[in-house]
Each structure stands twice: as structure tokens, then as C-alpha cells.
């Protein structure tokens, strides 16, 4: 066999068309020399409407980071745009004949289907319950749609459905409608579930996020993501960490009872983790979110696994934790209220809202430095929920 070394001139040099096009697109930008001006230029580029460049869907589009946002903006929002969708919150807030409702949907493709602390069934119920709860609604009714692969064991399906039943009972919701589809072997991976839910909004949230507000998390972060990753058995790391999957509506009610008018915003920190939520808060309200690395509760085994894998727990999914922004003057009450509930026992105050620089999340590192916490690019952990 002839040797084919990579040597200069072994093939004619081409240019990368996509790269040349991207350079041309930004060619009008004036040449500036000071760092500050450059940073402003970058800010403008960041605010510009994202463009979908890929010809095919890649795994990054499902990761909850920048690529997902681009897909949503460029495809879904572009086609469906309306005032109820536009906030792109966890759920839409509707008013029907004078009743205020929240409506949400989510699909579950977690692999493996069963993992320590939960399975796809309770995840599918809790995820939708939580989307409603953090929208400020009392979750009431859920739908459940199943896409099953030919050959999937009925025993597994029964086990999943039983945990959905238990999760619904624990959250005080009913599954009131559903759908089943079966696809040929190899056309799906066992079982996918979609749930949608409606809830009643009885108490409004307390206005826009603004400088001076406090940022809290309801408990240790990153447990679900690390659990699922380790449950795949690809990493040969052993740990007794379990998923944090849980319904948050009870915790939300406790918080709202204690300081209802002072609660500005709640988000459950699922795909993309706490960092992604903080970025959304900063971008939506045009404020700076300043947080302290030391203040985030992280279980030692979660931290250890993240260190080994080179990932940041701030980006790892939770399924029973939320980020809460409250008015600064009720921060202590909010923290006590969260900690009084079993699901909020590990709650912590992690940072404050400031006015500058708008749209950014800044982190004071445990080491004593500072850095930006940006949206994640790419996907370190596919199919985590």
C-alpha cells in the first residue's frame, strides 16, 4: 500500500465557504482600536437576530444553549409569533373568560429510562408540574402522550406509568387525557413521553426583575445531570448521587405564602442548568446578575464528578431545583421560607441583580477572581431529560 502522507500540496487548497461568508457578513463593521469599543461591537453582534446556518438538525439544537435558542428564534418563533408565545417562558399565561391560566408542554427522551432516584415517568410529570409552578400557577391537569418502540417490554411501561401515577398524586395533579403511538423497531429508543399541563394562576408575581433584587437557588445543583450521566455506565465512576427530580409546586406555594408580592421570577433549572437560567434572567430584564461561586450549594460527589469530567456544575441539569429572584428586602424571608420546606432545605442566597453590565452574568470565583458565565455552546450531555 502506498503511503499518503499529509504534505504541502497534496491537494489544492480550498477556502471554507461558510467562514468566508461569515466574514463578509460582518465586513461593514468599522475597525476600532480600543478594547471597550470592541466589546460594544460584540454586544451588538450578540443582540442581533440569530441565524440558523446548519442544513440539518444537530444534537446541539437540543442542548438548551445557544443553538437551541437560535433554532427557536429562527424557526419556531418565526412561524408561530404571537404575544403569548413571545416571552418564551416555561409556560404561556392565558386569560380565558376571566380565568388566568398557565399552559405548558415538554417532551422526555432521557436515556437511560431508569436511573437512581427516578425514571422517565416521574420526570415527565414533575417537569410539567414544575414549569407550571414556576409560572406562578397551581398545576391542575396534565396530558400524557407516549411514543413506544416495537418490542418495548410491557413490564417497563407499567413501571414507568406507575411512577407517573405516584408523581401525579404527590404533586396533586390528575392526568386527564393521553395518546399512544408505536413505531417500528429501531425508529425510536424504547419510550418517549410528552406531557402538557394547565394550571390556575391565582396570585400574580411581583413585577419585573430590577437592580437590588436577590437571587436564590432552592437546593444543591447538578444532581440530576450527574446521576443520569453516571447511570449510563460509560464513565466507570461510582457514586451514590441520585436524581433530584421532584414536584416544586408545594415549595412555590410556601414561598408565595411567605413573600408573595416580593417574588419577581422563578425558573426551574433544567437543561443547561442554573447558568442558562441566570443568563435568561439577565437578558430578559436587561440587568446584570452577579453571583458568588462559593454560595452555590453543590454536593461533594457532584462536584467531584464534574471536576473529573471537566464540566461546570452551573451548567448541569436539575429536575427539582429552581432559581428564584425576589425583591432585595424580602431576601431573608424568602430564604427562610424555602428552607422551611423539605425540598428547599438546602436553599441558598447566591447573588444580586445589578444594573451594569446589562444582559450578563458575572461570577465571583471561589478563588477570588471574576469571570463571565455565558450561555453554553454545544452539548456536553445529550438526552438528560
Amino acid at each position: 500500500m502506498a503511503e499518503r502522507p499529509l504534505i504541502e500540496g497534496s491537494a489544492p487548497e480550498r477556502s471554507a465557504d461558510w467562514a468566508e461568508a461569515a466574514v463578509r457578513e460582518h465586513a461593514h463593521v468599522e475597525t476600532v482600536s480600543r478594547e471597550e469599543q470592541v466589546l460594544e461591537r460584540i454586544d451588538r453582534a450578540r443582540r442581533a437576530r440569530p441565524r440558523l446556518r446548519e442544513q440539518n438538525i444537530t444534537l446541539s439544537h437540543g442542548a438548551g444553549g445557544k443553538a437551541t435558542q437560535t433554532l427557536i428564534q429562527a424557526v419556531f418563533l418565526h412561524a408561530f409569533r404571537n404575544p403569548l408565545l413571545e416571552p418564551l417562558d416555561d409556560g404561556a399565561r392565558l386569560s380565558i373568560d376571566g380565568a388566568s391560566l398557565a399552559f405548558t408542554t415538554d417532551s422526555y427522551v432521557v436515556s437511560p429510562l431508569f436511573f437512581p432516584g427516578g425514571d422517565i415517568g416521574d420526570l415527565a410529570v414533575n417537569g410539567t408540574v414544575n414549569d407550571l409552578a414556576v409560572s406562578g400557577a397551581e398545576p391542575l391537569h396534565l396530558s400524557a402522550g407516549f411514543i413506544l418502540e416495537e418490542g418495548f417490554p410491557v413490564a417497563d411501561l407499567k413501571r414507568i406509568v406507575a411512577s407517573m401515577r405516584d408523581a401525579a398524586a404527590a404533586a396533586g395533579v390528575q392526568i386527564v387525557t393521553g395518546d399512544t403511538k408505536v413505531v417500528q423497531r429501531g425508529k425510536a429508543d424504547g419510550c418517549y413521553i410528552n406531557t402538557a399541563g394547565v394550571g390556575a394562576i391565582r396570585r400574580p408575581l411581583g413585577g419585573d426583575v430590577r437592580p437590588g433584587d436577590a437571587v436564590l437557588v432552592s437546593g444543591p445543583i447538578g444532581e440530576h445531570g450527574v446521576t443520569v450521566m453516571l447511570a449510563r455506565g460509560e464513565l466507570d465512576i461510582e457514586s451514590d448521587v441520585t436524581s433530584d427530580t421532584a414536584p416544586l409546586n408545594g415549595l412555590v406555594a410556601t414561598l408565595m405564602d411567605a413573600c408573595g408580592g416580593g417574588v419577581r421570577r422563578m425558573r426551574d433549572a433544567t437543561r443547561g442548568g442554573v447558568a442558562t437560567i441566570l443568563n435568561e434572567v439577565a437578558a430578559d430584564a436587561g440587568v446584570a446578575v452577579v453571583v458568588e461561586e462559593d454560595a452555590f450549594p453543590v454536593r461533594p460527589d457532584v462536584r467531584g464528578a464534574c471536576e473529573l469530567l471537566g464540566i461546570d456544575p452551573l451548567y448541569v441539569a436539575c429536575e427539582g431545583r429552581m432559581v428564584v429572584v425576589v425583591s432585595g428586602d424580602v431576601a431573608d424571608e424568602a430564604l427562610s421560607a424555602l428552607r422551611s420546606h423539605p425540598l428547599g432545605a438546602g436553599a441558598a442566597l447566591v447573588g444580586r441583580i445589578k444594573d451594569d453590565p446589562p444582559g450578563l452574568v458575572l461570577l465571583k470565583t471561589a478563588f477570588g477572581g471574576t469571570r463571565i458565565v455565558d450561555l453554553l455552546v454545544g452539548d456536553p450531555l445529550p438526552r438528560i431529560c
Binding site: 499518503r4 499529509l6 497534496s10 461558510w18 461569515a22 440539518n56 444537530t58 446541539s60 458575572l362 463571565i372
Partner: protein
């Protein structure tokens, strides 16, 4: 966490920072290059530059193995992956790196079977499980990862596997450092040496940097205090008029390196006459290929390789950034055409690249960040 938190102690950092400041001559500018991308990542992740005086600047070097792979090599990998019955495997960091015709993710979405593995041994496992497929491991990395690739080839041979090969893209760090030292516009006062590479090659091979080029080099660990201490050691050398190779990372790096690891690399691989580095161009004897005796495991001999060559856009100034001539933000396309989502140049490709690290973690003037995080 034991063995980690000790090296991230803010009190010790403050004490070290004060000592660093006292070593600096007023009015003199100091520029040190951290060669390794792992160091760049640590510097930004922990906000380490906040501890440095104004006149000490860190320049982010070429030691990110993902970043230095030329786009043509990415295209060649995709070409192999598109052949019948091929399962291509690679580290996760490579998946998003765009070549001339898109990334592994794009190719995977278009139908190629490209899988992420955490170790080349995982690729070997896939080969055992799929005897009717051809499994290729796209091997990347410096001397740090070359031993594990070498061990995998040896094991594949011992097991008599006939459906496993590697597409070898291993590079060696010393020729790249030499290329940077030989560049006429170089302005560096010393090097923070690559810790992981040195666990394999040891400290002796850096001698020429201190002796012939008169630049001090300190092999450093990857925790933030390691790097601060290394900067302290570099400044001490300069203050005392020395230029030597020193080892800050003695808890991991033996002076002589890992002779067993070097032996298996040498048994399975040999130097290429030259290899293209993104941003730096062709560098002599800077990469490894599979030896003739292991030709059966060499994807370059099993498959037709187009030998693609893709030019980086002219507007891209990665070469200057890598040599420390330009700061990331001084590049014309930084942050607009070239972002972490659409990386045009090598420095933006992986989170360990100089521009990506700056974009993700450091993209703000110190004053503004300090103002925001006060109180």
C-alpha cells in the same frame, strides 16, 4: 474537596499576588506565555488575572490540541467517516470543530456514524462489538494523549483485531514552541510550561529554551495557585537575571518524564517530516504518524485520504494571537464573524483556545467587572 481546594485558596492567592507585585520592576512590561490550553482555561475559569499587576500580561499559547488541527484534517476525517461500514470515533471536544465543509456534528446529522468516546479503549470496545464494521479512532493531542493511543494500538495488535485503525493527528509541543521563539515579532519574557505534556516528556527537553533563547520556563500545574506560583518563579528568575527550566509541578511531573510512556509512543509512532498547524502553518517534525510495523492499524494507509487543505480566512489573525502579538479582542473578526458558535479561527474553536476563553470568561474590562462585583 481534598487535593483540589488546597490549590484554590483565596488567602494564599492574595499573599502570592502581593509577593508577585513586589517582584515587578515599576515601568517594565512582562509578557509570559502559558503554552497549554489547560492553563488558559484555569486562568479564565478562576479569574486569575485579577490577581496580577497591570504590567504582567499572559499570552495564550498554541497548546490546545483541538484548536491546532487544520480544517483540512477535519474534512479528511469526515471523508473517512462517510465510507461504507465505517464507525468514526473521537473525543467530544472535536465534535463541534468546523472544517471546510462543516463539523462532525453536521456530518453525523447528515448520516455518518461518528461517535464520542472518552478513551481510545472505548473505540476498541466498539471494534470488538462490531466485527463487520471498520472502526477508526481520530487520535488527537500532544504527548499527553499519545501514550494512550499507542497502548490502544498495541492492544489491538495483541488481540488480533483487523477492523480497528487510528487516524493519527498527534502533535509534539517543542517544535511549536520553537516556531514561536523563531518568529521575528515575538515579545515574550518567559513560558509557563505545559504540565501534562511534561509528565510524559519530562523537563529536560525544554533546556534549549532557557539556554539558546534565554527565556525562563516553569513547568506548572493546573490549579490556579500553581499558575500564580509559576508566575512568581518566572519573575524571580528575571529579577535575579537567570533563565532556567524549573519544575513547579513536582507533585506530578518527574524531571526525566515517563520512560514507559515514551517507549510505547516510540514503538508505535514516528515523526512526520512536517505537519500543518492551524494558525501557525507547516512546522517540521511537529507531528507523529503510525510506524510501518503497525501499518495495519493506520487509517492513512487503509483508506484513500484526500489530503484536503483548507485556507483560514485572511481576516483571521489567530497566528498573531498565538504568538502574543495581538490580544484576542484586537483581531478584526473577534466576537462578530468569529464567535464560539461559529468559530472561524483556531483560537475560538475549543473552550481552551485563547479567543474562546477570552470571549466566554474575560470579555470585559477589569474595571467594569470589579465595579459590578463590588459590595
Amino acid at each position: 474537596m481534598r487535593y483540589v481546594d488546597e490549590y484554590r485558596d483565596a488567602d494564599k492567592a492574595r499573599a502570592l499576588a502581593a509577593s508577585i507585585a513586589s517582584l515587578c520592576e515599576p515601568g517594565r512590561q512582562y509578557k509570559f506565555m502559558e503554552v497549554c490550553g489547560g492553563h488558559t482555561h484555569t486562568i479564565y475559569k478562576h479569574g486569575l488575572e485579577d490577581y496580577l499587576p497591570e504590567n504582567v500580561t499572559l499570552v495564550h499559547g498554541p497548546g490546545c490540541p483541538v484548536c491546532v488541527i487544520p480544517m483540512g484534517r477535519v474534512d479528511d476525517t469526515i471523508h473517512i467517516a462517510e465510507q461504507d461500514d465505517v464507525i468514526m470515533t473521537s473525543f467530544g471536544d472535536m465534535m463541534r470543530v468546523p472544517g471546510g465543509r462543516g463539523s462532525f456534528f453536521d456530518s453525523k446529522a447528515a448520516g455518518a456514524d461518528i461517535r464520542m468516546v472518552y478513551s481510545p479503549l472505548d473505540a476498541l470496545k466498539i471494534a470488538r462489538q462490531n466485527p463487520d464494521k471498520k472502526i477508526v479512532f481520530m487520535a488527537i493531542g500532544f504527548e499527553t494523549t499519545a501514550p494512550s493511543t499507542a497502548m490502544t494500538v498495541l492492544r489491538a495488535k495483541a488481540e488480533g483485531l483487523t477492523n480497528f485503525s487510528i487516524f493519527c493527528n498527534h502533535v509534539t509541543i517543542l517544535p511549536a514552541i520553537k516556531a514561536i521563539l523563531d518568529s521575528p515579532d515575538l515579545r515574550l519574557d518567559g513560558f509557563i510550561g505545559p504540565g501534562h505534556v511534561s509528565t510524559v516528556i519530562g523537563c529536560r527537553p525544554y533546556d534549549f529554551i532557557a539556554r539558546e533563547y534565554g527565556k525562563p520556563l516553569v513547568v506548572a500545574g493546573f490549579e490556579p495557585l500553581d499558575i500564580l506560583q509559576s508566575i512568581h518563579m518566572l519573575l524571580s528568575q528575571l529579577a535575579e537575571g537567570r533563565s532556567e527550566v524549573e519544575n513547579q509541578y513536582g507533585r506530578v511531573v518527574p524531571w526525566e518524564g515517563n520512560l514507559t510512556a515514551l517507549k510505547v509512543i516510540n514503538e508505535t509512532m514516528e515523526l512526520r517530516p512536517y505537519f500543518e498547524w492551524r494558525g501557525l502553518g507547516f512546522i517540521s517534525h511537529s507531528a507523529l504518524k503510525v510506524r510501518d510495523t503497525f501499518a495495519a492499524f493506520d487509517a492513512e494507509r487503509i483508506f484513500e485520504i484526500p489530503g484536503s487543505r483548507v485556507a483560514d480566512p485572511k481576516a483571521c489573525q489567530c497566528g498573531e494571537v498565538l504568538k502574543g502579538v495581538l490580544k484576542p479582542w484586537e483581531c478584526k473578526v473577534f466576537g462578530t464573524a468569529c464567535t464560539p458558535e461559529t468559530p472561524i479561527g483556531t483560537c475560538m474553536v475549543s473552550s481552551e483556545g485563547a479567543c474562546a476563553a477570552y470571549y466566554n470568561f474575560g470579555r470585559f474590562t477589569r474595571e467594569r467587572v470589579q465595579e459590578a462585583t463590588r459590595g
